[in-house]
Amino acid sequence: MIYSLCLLLILVGLYGVIVSRHTLKIVIGLVIMEHGVHLLLILIGYRAGGQPPIVDPGTLPALFAGQSVDPLPQALVLTSIVIGLGVLALLVALCVRLYERYGTFDVTEIKRLRG
């Protein structure tokens, strides 16, 4: 059930990318899509009633492995957030430069390349 809510978030982001006419709104749509995927990844590693994957002094490894949530998707999501940040910085810089050149943020008017 909750995975379908993540999918809904991804689809909302995709809708934003497809329908928006403002370049920055397209970028926001992409960010929402990425948030949805990150949520999906973390929820895949969830275990009902699980502990955070932090080892305290005095915890037995076997008990820890049986109780904590899966830490691997959390590491994947951290990496993916960093990648998303890099892409976001590049896209926003491109949007600003596009405004400098074309004078508009409207995607339907930025169409010099045709055919």
Binding site: L30, V37, G86, L94, R101, K111, G115
Partner: protein
């Protein structure tokens, strides 16, 4: 030694950004020496298979780098073409400022591609894919002119959507199999079989990687991005990037990890056929040289996808050989287009003419490249297209073979159009201050043209056995990884 392919260009990119801020000559030297080292190292990797554990952690716990014959073939292609493009950009990028940023981004692109080729697990593949993709978005926008920014924005948005789709696929595969290591995933899939989440993940991977490889319903970014980039960047993008992060990963996932049987290969075949036809027809109507070459790339990648989608050993050999050939002659053609644009100030075929007299090296190499891509014997394009067509006939798809032959004829048509309009007709009075081609650019183009001829000799003299056939067999027969 495997780590050097990733660590060396990354460290050199950082050193260039650190040291060469206002000294373009230093950045030229550092970058080209690095690319030369990588090209030489990639030839050393032939014939060895290796599994390198990063950090000393054994496989289920750690991440690996894996070298097998297919990976070494791709490494040679990527690094040699990068060397040629790097040599070319010493003089081409003289008119752009910030050469250190250019070389930094270029070496990051090479890092990303080498990482994708060597990655042994799915998530590192994704990370290096993103490194290469982000570097390419920035490189396409490098000149900050109108078209470059527009093309880069379109490319970046579509590329990010495809990367997100790929990440959803990775998440689904992890959820079902519980591991990210590609060898272990293959083992688990052979136990479980293709359940519906895996089928969904496979579909998502096809969509995501077809966008990276520019197969036809997903090709919309390529005709804008490749012409607008500076010429050496176009050569890298069209020659190696769409193949290293698109077709190579698709082949790995389809054959080695998922172990797809003949039923599901249909989608790859259809994508290939549609790309061939649409790319060729749209290329024939273009009047901008680089846009024509960009559509031609879509068409040739369609050939490669068709060869892979047949699933037979002959088809694999043809597809891999065409991958190598296309990397060499398409980057050669883009480098030629860059010289033409710099010498005459325009890319429009209606305004060009008679460049054979004023740009002799460009004329000869572009003739070699055009004959290769059109599939004229004895050049290399003929052999690879022949192999793919024979494989189609052998696998029973006669109509696909007929379509492939027709597309080859259309390819010949538009290449002759370029040759006639740009090189052979009456000279128009267009030259800017360039009177002859700079030596390093000529060297880069000559190296690639010699590569075309050498690759064709590879078939005629029978030397292709150790490099290509073993790589092809590795890909096909191995469901799962042997190491």
């Amino acid at each position: 030694m495997l780590v050097l392919f990733i660590a060396l260009p990354l460290a050199m990119a950082l050193l260039i950004l650190l040291l060469a801020r206002s000294r373009p000559a230093l950045s030229d030297w550092l970058a080209n020496l690095t690319l030369l080292t990588l090209a030489v190292l990639s030839f050393y990797s032939i014939g060895s298979s290796e599994l390198y554990h990063m950090g000393g952690w054994v496989t289920p716990l750690g991440i690996d780098l894996r070298l097998d014959p297919l990976a070494s073939l791709l490494l040679i292609v990527v690094n040699v073409v990068s060397l040629a493009a790097g040599l070319y950009s010493v003089e081409y990028m003289r008119s752009y400022t910030a050469k250190d940023h250019y070389y930094g981004l270029f070496l990051l692109l090479v890092t990303g591609m080498n990482g994708v080729i060597l990655a042994g697990d799915l998530f590192n593949l994704y990370v290096f894919l993103e490194v290469a993709a982000i570097a390419s978005y920035a490189l396409v926008a490098f000149g900050c002119a109108h078209e470059e920014l527009e093309a880069s924005f379109k490319y970046a948005v579509l590329g990010t959507v495809s990367s997100t789709i790929i990440l959803i696929g990775v998440a689904l595969v992890y959820a079902v199999t519980g591991t990210l290591n590609m060898a272990h995933i293959a083992a688990r899939i052979s136990e479980i079989g293709m359940t519906s989440p895996l089928l969904l993940a496979f579909g998502l991977f096809i969509c995501g990687f077809s966008l990276k490889a520019a197969l036809v319903p997903f090709h919309a970014w390529l005709p804008d991005a490749h012409p607008s980039a500076p010429a050496p960047v176009s050569a890298m993008l069209s020659g190696v990037l769409i193949k290293a992060i698109g077709i190579y990963v698709l082949a790995r996932l389809v054959f080695n990890v998922f172990g797809i049987g003949h039923g599901e290969l249909t989608v790859l075949r259809w994508l290939g056929i549609i790309s061939m036809v649409v790319g060729a027809l749209l290329a024939a109507g273009q009047s901008d040289i680089k846009r024509l070459f960009a559509y031609s790339s879509i068409s040739q990648v369609g050939f490669i996808a068709l060869g892979l989608g047949l699933g037979t050993p002959l088809g694999m050999i043809g597809a891999l050989y065409h991958l190598v050939n296309h990397a060499v002659f398409k980057s050669l053609l883009f480098l030629n287009a860059g010289v033409v644009e710099n010498a005459t100030g325009t890319r429009n075929l209606d305004e060009l003419g008679g460049l054979n007299k004023t740009l002799p090296v460009t004329g000869v190499t572009s003739m070699v490249g055009s004959l290769s891509i059109a599939g004229i014997p004895p050049f290399n394009g003929f052999w690879s297209k022949l192999l793919i067509i024979l494989a189609c006939v052998e696998a029973g798809f006669l109509w696909a073979a007929v379509v492939a032959v027709a597309v080859s004829v259309v390819t010949l048509v538009y290449q002759l159009k370029v040759q006639r309009h740009a090189f052979f007709s009456d000279p128009k009075d267009l030259l800017t201050s360039w009177t002859k081609e700079p030596p390093l650019m000529s060297l880069a183009m000559a190296v690639l043209a010699l590569g075309c001829i050498a690759l064709s000799l590879l078939v005629i003299t029978g030397l292709k056995t150790p490099y290509l056939i073993s790589a092809a067999q590795e890909t096909l027969m191995r469901f799962g990884f042997g190491l």
